[in-house]
């Protein structure tokens, strides 16, 4: 008799507008196993969890929980059938106490209420998850790290048969990660099955027998964890190092930036930058310098802190410690529109094009009211840089292809003629051809003398244009130097795919 399956999804799909966030995924989780799910940014991992937990309804497909079809059930009904989940960004009931958060969950877990048994059950979980000392605090007062613990504790209070953990390992230091791994492993006997979405590979390798890889909404592969992590295709999806060499006869890919020996004058100086979300340091004492006209690549795995640093520079996120100077003046603490006025252009992650504005309007809106006179000239300059935009100037900003939208985003950031251009993950979600075209344009941008800070997950692309590069991990600066030195560094793979996997992977 086959072992019962805790979860099976068949042809599961979910569309948003025209985009398939999850595309025909077939996956099964065996009873008693812990399955990991990994994948780069935008792969659809959170959508997947939302589909299972009932927070989202699927466009197509079926979901079977321990053999029972729950596809049509509302969220609360699925919970009562035994699904418990944590949220990637913790959502505690802020004005209830920590204990009350658990008691609420416990109440709905069983058919007959035994109040005393509930309370004992919850207290045991509190002790186990290290929350016993704050049991009476209002949950909203907990720092981020403990809120993540509360997510887990609350999900456990439901006495779930299937436990879904959404990026519960993010932002932890080594000791905390080890403790989390212990905790997850101890749950094996109590919970029917666990699905673990993670970026922190240490947790995946330590807890999951099998791992599935999602990429662009599709299931790339699933299998024993060690094999999956060593699979070069999987590495390629994350690191981008598996890309084809350019066809023979084509110009060789340029190696890095200028090999000038003259150090340019510093334009942007970041010293000891730290950013906190709740009690967690998303950035810890990072130093970064970008010189006039220089191109610096900022690399690192997902969650390393790259976007946080970019946002701190442009003023969207406050600094907890450290300083940021631009052209000699302090800019930390200024509102985003003021930072832009100083000469920093920020091409945001995810493009953030205004759909209700046309291409030309998207460009024009980036000019401050005072710069009205220059508008025509700047527009011409940007159109010269990106001719495709001129062709589509009257259409809605989002009516173009992904690559063209990215060009629009870059062009928009260039409109106020910034001295420094921050490019955050511009190659995200684009086909390799489009990325090549994009980087061609960036070469032209560089030729105008604009300094650039290129944030990239994909090492190969990030280093294409760079004069210098930095690699972040866990919010800290771990590597810095010339592109060729970074590429050759043995630490690099470990920083992305996790120490254990890198150590045991075939060379």
């Amino acid at each position: 008799m086959p072992e019962p399956e805790a979860l099976r999804v068949e042809t599961l799909s979910r569309q948003f507008g025209g985009v398939a966030a999850i595309d025909a995924v077939d996956l099964a989780v065996r009873a008693g196993e812990t399955l990991g799910i990994i994948g780069p940014n935008g792969a659809g991992k959170s959508t997947f969890i939302n589909l299972i937990s009932g927070a989202l309804a699927p466009s197509r497909g079926r979901i079977l929980l321990f053999g029972e079809d729950v596809t049509g059930l509302a969220t609360e009904a699925r919970t009562r059938r035994g699904i418990g989940r944590t949220h990637q960004i913790p959502r505690p009931f802020a004005r209830m106490s920590v204990r009350e958060n658990l008691l609420l969950a416990a109440r709905h877990a069983r058919a007959a209420h035994e109040r005393r048994a509930d309370r004992e059950h919850c207290d045991a979980i509190l002790t186990r998850t290290g929350l016993a000392d704050v049991a009476d605090w209002p949950a909203g007062r907990l720092p981020l790290l403990r809120r993540k613990r509360l997510e887990l504790a609350r999900a456990l209070a439901l006495r779930p048969r299937l436990l879904l953990l959404d990026e519960i390992g993010a932002g932890l230091v080594e000791a905390e990660t080890r403790a989390l791994i212990e905790l997850i492993r101890s749950l094996r006997t109590e919970v029917g099955a666990i699905v673990l979405i993670e970026h922190v590979m240490d947790v995946i390798t330590a807890c999951c027998e099998r791992t599935a890889v999602l990429s662009s909404g599709r299931l790339l592969t699933v299998g024993p964890t060690r094999e999956v992590l060593a699979d070069p295709e999987v590495a390629a999806v994350y690191l981008g190092t598996g890309e084809r060499e350019p066809a023979p006869g084509a110009a060789p890919a340029p190696q890095g930036g200028r090999q000038s020996s003259v150090t340019p004058a510093p334009l942007l100086e970041v010293r000891g930058a730290s950013v906190s979300y709740g009690g967690v340091r998303a950035l810890r004492g990072v130093d970064l310098v970008v010189g006039e006209g220089e191109v610096v690549a900022l690399l690192g795995a997902n969650g390393a802190g790259k976007t946080t640093l970019a946002r701190a520079i442009s003023g969207a996120v406050p600094l907890a410690a450290g300083s940021i100077r631009f052209a000699g003046a302090r800019i930390a603490g200024l509102a985003p529109e003021l930072v832009t006025a100083r000469g920093i252009g920020h091409c945001m992650e995810g493009r953030r094009i205004f759909a209700s504005l046309s291409v030309e309007e998207n460009l024009l809106v980036a000019l401050p009211p005072e710069a009205r006179a220059r508008a025509a000239g700047r527009l011409e300059a940007v159109y010269a840089m990106f001719p495709a935009l001129r062709d589509h100037r009257g259409k809605s900003g989002t009516a173009m292809s992904g690559g063209q939208q990215q060009m629009l985003a870059i062009g928009r950031a260039l409109m106020p003629a910034p001295r420094l251009l921050i490019l955050d993950e511009v190659s995200l979600g684009l086909a390799p051809i489009a990325v090549e075209q994009l980087y061609e344009s960036l070469r032209r941008v560089r030729a105008t003398g604009v300094a650039m800070l290129i944030v990239e997950q994909n090492i190969h692309r990030g280093l294409q244009l760079a004069d210098r590069a930095c690699v972040l991990a866990h919010g800290e600066l771990r590597l810095a130097g010339r592109p060729q030195d970074i590429r050759a560094s043995p630490e690099l793979r470990a920083l992305y795919v996790g120490e254990d996997a890198a150590a045991t992977a075939p060379p």
């Binding site: 609360e76 209830m96 609420l104 709905h108 009476d136």
Partner: protein, 323 residues
């Protein structure tokens, strides 16, 4: 006291509060012996307002549904009481219960539609509903149209009204306090804090909202029935008017939303303010609204929250307030 809301060391404080409450009730019951008709009338009004505030606080403060339709329930309760009283020989308690039941049924009927609206849409929807009801009543001659209905029964003296309003308020308070100390309180507050996550934790949020809504409607309706009894005649503008909502919202927010004592403290302050501006009702309303403005900006947890100021309660404004 057991139940989800109890914390260690709180047992003593809770018992103390209960005793204080009982003592207050006894003192309040003595008012008609000690004071004349003016104070009895004022006391009636205060008790009535407190009842409304307690109910609204349950719905807005503890369940997170900010309704601006208090007038709808007051009016329905007032009319139900008057009509039933005029056309049947039912005794007073039954009439009062009917005054609560009719709005409660109405609440249940409109819930499926109304609760499709979340958050601010619900608020606007409730306002529109109350206004629509008022206009409807003005136009339906079977209910007396714009001139309303006159009650056949004689209006009882003020001390009798007072002694009716007091148990109504006390019962409302008791009912709500019991609810807040029961496990249902967890479900209510979970729906308030984050309805989606509440459902993810297994809470049947629609039922929870419906229950709170119906209970609020019931209590508010009984207060409306009292109004009917007091005036001896009711008409749509007064019964379904916006002033009920304005009074209630101001009282609860100034007193302290989502606190047990807030509605009571708020009523005291509101009535005191009204007395100091006797004869200038518009100024009273304007100043009360000004205080409301200031409280929202400066002390969103209300004055009760300020007074209590427990050490770990130094929560941010966003956490402590309903806003």
């Amino acid at each position: 006291m057991s139940g989800s809301g109890a914390r260690p060391g709180q047992g003593g404080a809770a018992r103390g509060a209960l005793i204080a409450l009982l003592a207050a009730v006894v003192l309040l019951a003595l008012v008609p012996y000690l004071f004349g008709t003016y104070w009895q009338q004022l006391g009636f009004r205060a008790l009535q307002l407190a009842t409304l505030a307690i109910a609204w606080n349950l719905l807005a403060g503890y369940t997170g549904q900010v309704s601006l339709g208090t007038g709808a329930f007051v009016g329905l309760g007032a009319y139900a009481f008057a009509l039933l009283g005029n056309h049947s020989a039912a005794p007073l308690p039954v009439l009062l219960l009917a005054g609560g039941a009719v709005p409660a049924v109405f609440a249940v009927l409109v819930s499926p539609g109304l609760f499709r609206l979340r958050g601010l849409y619900f608020t606007i929807g409730s306002l529109a509903l109350a206004e629509a009801l008022r206009i409807l009543m003005v136009n339906l001659s079977v209910f007396g149209g714009a001139s309303g209905i006159v009650l056949r029964a004689a209006t009882p003296p003020f001390y009798a009204l007072y002694w009716l309003a007091l148990p109504v308020m006390v019962l409302a308070l008791a009912l709500v306090l019991v609810l807040l100390h029961s496990p249902v309180s967890l479900s209510l507050r979970a729906v308030r804090d984050d309805e989606d996550v509440a459902r993810q934790m297994g809470v049947r949020s629609f039922r929870v909202k419906l229950g709170a809504f119906a209970l609020t409607a019931f209590i508010t309706g009984v207060a409306g029935a009292l109004q009917s009894l007091k005036l001896g005649a009711i008409e749509p503008y007064g019964a379904f008017g916006m002033s009920w909502t304005i009074d209630t919202v101001a009282i609860v927010i100034i007193g302290g939303i989502a606190t047990r004592g807030g509605p009571l403290l708020g009523t005291l302050l509101y009535v005191a303010l009204g007395e100091s501006l006797r004869g200038l009702p518009e100024l009273h309303n304007a100043i009360a609204a000004l205080v409301l403005l200031i409280v929202i900006r400066v002390a969103p947890q209300g004055l009760w929250g300020l007074l209590l100021r427990r050490p770990w309660r130094r929560a941010t404004a966003a956490e402590a307030s309903d806003a």
